[in-house]
Symmetry: C2
Subunit: 270 residues, 2 copies
Amino acid sequence: MEFVERYNGSGLLIEVEKILYEFKGVQHIQIFQTKSFGKMLVLDGKIQLTEKDEAFYHEMLVHPAMLMHESPKRVLVIGGGDGGAVREVLKHDPKDVVMVEIDENVVKACKEYIGIDMGALEDSRVNILFEDGLEFVRNCRGRFDVVIVDGTDPNPISQALISKEFYRDCAKICDYFVTQSQSPFAQPDYFKSIYDNAEFKNKAVYLGFVPTYPHGLWSYLIGSDVMKIALDLNVIRKRFEKRSIETIYYTPEIHVSAFALPKWIAHLIR
Amino acid sequence: MEFVERYNGSGLLIEVEKILYEFKGVQHIQIFQTKSFGKMLVLDGKIQLTEKDEAFYHEMLVHPAMLMHESPKRVLVIGGGDGGAVREVLKHDPKDVVMVEIDENVVKACKEYIGIDMGALEDSRVNILFEDGLEFVRNCRGRFDVVIVDGTDPNPISQALISKEFYRDCAKICDYFVTQSQSPFAQPDYFKSIYDNAEFKNKAVYLGFVPTYPHGLWSYLIGSDVMKIALDLNVIRKRFEKRSIETIYYTPEIHVSAFALPKWIAHLIR
């Protein structure tokens, strides 16, 4: 059996051994046992993660912003129902993590059938709210050191998470903000919209390799109204070592290098 | 119509509008008109290039080694029948380029149906020899500033191009040697073999994004018995500007950044 995710004129095919779970609620959730990628989560037909490469994505989403911050103690994760982002956040020993996920079914299904959170979602420092991240940020009176958006591809549910208003609300409540920002190659329009709408005083795009995302290239946007985009290798390395962070993809050298953009990507957002 | 290249448990699907050419000789050559990637060359079932992303590959294969060299005047290209590598080499204004390609049919088919060489293969500084690159290097009495291997995936024809003997012969005749070194993700064994067999005094692996290669991540190996792996951004940038090189992917910053390896790739070759 094969699962195929189609892009524009191309697609990724994954050989499937078994359907482990399927449910149509807020989103169409599918969990597959694949031949070479372990378990795989698909939402509305789009691959969200596989066991084999989810760490490539979650590490690159989380560690750059967390290491740019000298001491990230309060962290907000929007989306990220699979728990992979929170798992990486906990490596920095925060005091308080709030995860706001709109779809409780995703959390339940991932916990039961995948388990990549490695217990992170049961950690006593983690509070999970099942509500709309947009509303949460708009009404938020607190402040976070880092806000991380781990959303799906823009769709009727998540479209508002790439709006100017949302980014403006986020800028007000945090030191550093980071979001996945789609594939510059397969989804250049979304990539550009995210960059343009994210009107932070300081912002930058960085890249990472995620084999099961469209054509393997993925982007992230980091922004702040109050802090600099920190790319000093010595500083980042010192923090990384001090916090004793274990990774399989991220390194301080990758942190710095990921901000170098191929010319055609730099042109998209110049 | 669809073309599918299968990897281990996954595959890339490309929508095809028309078969432009097909021939079974030394290799099975297919040229397709695709829906989103322009023309596409396939050898023995494996995508070699598409018009949309071939420059990502050819620029990253050619420019790092050519810019590490202060003045690359004599260049040898082994393989590269489509002419893309030679096209990039000519941007450095060399005096003499030798291309050794085993399969004349590839050169003819690419010239007639694709044309990405942009006339490079007719340039008066370029000599094309239709013979075995292995033999050529073994018997070579001359010396090159840069040797570039633009081969296919290891197969009965190209297997010897990843042998210790071949690399040793290459080391003797050049300042810098570079070869594509497969996908560390989809073909970790080939990747590791190439690294291990390439016993240059100085060597390093670097990475690039090529959407139509397995899962989008591609690697290159650069080596030298007599020169250092040059990663000084200022030096590279100065040469890049002095030679007025136009690119769509490569930049001097990418040159330096491409050598930062995700932890799991560094582990593969430590």
